[in-house]
Amino acid sequence: MNTSEESLREYTRRQFLGNTAKGLGTAAIASLLAKDATAGGIPHAQLPTAKAKRAIYLFMSGGPAQMDMYDYKPKMGEWFDKDLPDSVRMGQRLTTMTSKQARFPIAPSKYSFQQYGQGGTWMSELLPYTQKVADELAVIRTVWTEAINHDPAITYIQTGRQIPGLPSLGSWLSYGLGSANENLPTFVVLTATWTGRKQAQALYQRLWSSGPLASRHAGVSLRSSGDPVLYLSNPSGVDSQVRRAMLDGVNAFNQRTYEKELDPVVQDRISQYEMAFRMQSSVPDLTDLSKEPDHVFERYGPDSRKPGTFAYSCLLARRLAERGVRLTQIFHRGWDQHGGLPKDLPNQCRDIDQPTYALLTDLKERGLLDDTLVVWGGEFGRTVYCQGKLTKDNYGRDHHPKCFTMWMAGGGVKGGVNYGVTDDFSYNIVENPVHIRDINATIMHQLGIDHEKLSIKFKGLDLRLTGVEPTSPVKAILS
């Protein structure tokens, strides 16, 4: 961003430092700048009613089958292999993967359901651990979107538009709230491994990009192998002492450049080099799990010791939450069960079930759940009718945008709540539709952002994450 109030505000800060810098050493300048970086954000878009300081978003990429996990449809048992009535489908657009099918036979879920917790939340047998924290969850069964294919759908829920190029949710939060930790990025992305269907949909770095917002608001993807942050490690043979000597020389030289040119960008460069140096110790400290006690690993499950798994990512997400990162988003792939769902879905659920439970209980025990919003969901749901060959024990499901399940927990969200009603086919919404824009507005609301006020000028418009159509936070699930 080269324009707007943002750069002007930065300018004043730099100017102030520029004018006072001459009597200060570079270290002092660096720490001044760093402190300033913890402020920031866009005050006029901030709400005094903020309930959460940070969020963790468990993103199930591919589209989880709502009727096999949360949206219990007992009547479907009688509908096995019967055609989906036209009165239900109502000519809705289908993907090209099933639009040529001669029939749309109903595939009832093969999994048994029970109610859990005070709120009586229905969950299937695939979620034995999540069942235990049912009363922490506000389950929304009536989320919907217009997109029916992965790329537009995931781009839509992440950025508010199906066409690429706009800022992601995390970037908006970073822009609106500013940073709470001078040593770490405000928005962190973790891409987890999965054990279901090997053939998984691609992710795209634009899903966490900052679009037209300044790129410091972009999600930083922490990697599970090699350097957690790209290029973090010094080359072989460069220890921290050599690095320090190298930086002292660079800073001294840059300081002289500043004195000659009086360009505040040079001061900023000095502070960015110091931040890089600090990250070289703060990031390894973050990702070093060796001091976590055994009982923590046991809670998150055996996978939590394997870097890159969903369980490991959840544990890391808790550590990021403790350090004030605004949004940690974990992408778990492999939910796209067009065929052989009963083979793959249990594996996918096993990947996430225990770690999700562990994350919620761990946050709660540490007193962090009250001000940490946890969100679970994917880019759309799946069809009640079968894709491909249908048997009692084997079926596939195509993409379904007209209703799917997401849940939220912590961060000022009421627990044990079930919101929205779908029809007997989990096909259409009967009561309380929640568009993905409303989901994003709810997340922003809990973190203290007015989704209508957080906007930037872009291509002649006031650009907002939630666009211009009527959108509001889902008040019924808020405490």
């Binding site: 891409t191 992710l203 410091r216 942050v229 010094n234 072989s236 043979g237 020389g249 460069r269 960015q272």
Partner: protein
């Protein structure tokens, strides 16, 4: 078009010194009144190409298919569609590592990180103006990306070969190659001070020195003591990291 460009580039407005002053910073902070010459960070491709050119590594061949220079492992795999023919990155070798960044292979779901970190556009929207950020990740690239560490080593080796034992001359050789000017006395002092620290460090740590000079695919230059080459590689790396080195002014 050419006439217009010539008119702009030879105008006294454009030819002004880019140095600001307290008054200019106060009255014209964003240089909207053109009270000074332009001063901004180079684009991603230029920063990499400049390091390659200054070090003598640049492969000047024109045309041909895209190439895959150094890139940390796993970047494509983390996001790639499992069935895709670009799900795994396979680095090129030899001259292909040193071609202009224009020829770098571009995978849109996971662009070359060095380019992205320095604000090369994503290729997803038309870009009227590139963003120019100033981030710690950029510092990490210039300090640690093997492409830049290897370029620093070649720059250092050339300085040593061209200038014999004259330390100030060696430093100036690098300054001319990267900054297009010689160092002044104070700057020579800064370089000398750093050099002594590096030499001390590597005299006590020959293994470390060996590590520094083995970064990159090209072999370590022969005929230069390893500790000396390592220490001067760090000096050259400093020069490539100077604000002035990556700034048009």
């Amino acid at each position: 078009m050419r006439h217009m460009l010539r008119l702009m580039l030879t105008s006294s407005t454009y030819l002004q010194d880019s140095a600001s002053s307290e008054k200019k910073n106060r009255v014209d902070p964003a240089n909207r009144l053109l009270s000074r010459g332009p001063r901004f960070r180079l684009d991603a491709e230029m920063i990499r190409d400049q390091a390659l050119a200054a070090s003598g590594l640049l492969e000047r061949k024109v045309g041909g298919p895209s190439v895959k220079p150094y890139q940390p492992e796993g970047i494509w795999f983390a996001v790639g569609y499992s069935g895709s023919n670009t799900v795994r990155f396979k680095q090129d070798n030899g001259d292909k590592l040193y071609r202009r960044s224009l020829y770098t292979f571009w995978k849109r779901t996971a662009p070359p990180p060095t380019m992205e970190i320095f604000n090369a556009p994503s290729r997803e929207n038309c870009t009227v103006q590139r963003e120019r950020t100033n981030t710690p990740l950029q510092a990490l690239v210039l300090m640690n990306d093997p492409q830049f560490v290897e370029a620093a080593r070649h720059l250092a080796a050339n300085a040593i070969k061209e200038c014999g034992d004259d330390l100030a001359k060696r430093a100036d050789y690098m300054a001319v190659r990267v900054l297009a000017r010689k160092f002044d006395d104070v700057e020579q002092g800064i370089v000398r001070h750093s050099l002594e620290a590096f030499l001390n460090a590597y005299k006590n740590n020959p293994e470390g020195a060996k590590g520094v000079v083995s970064v990159g695919d090209s072999p370590a230059q022969e005929g230069i003591p390893t500790e000396e080459l390592a220490a001067w590689t760090m000096v050259a790396s400093q020069v490539l990291n100077f604000d002035e080195a990556i700034t048009k002014h």
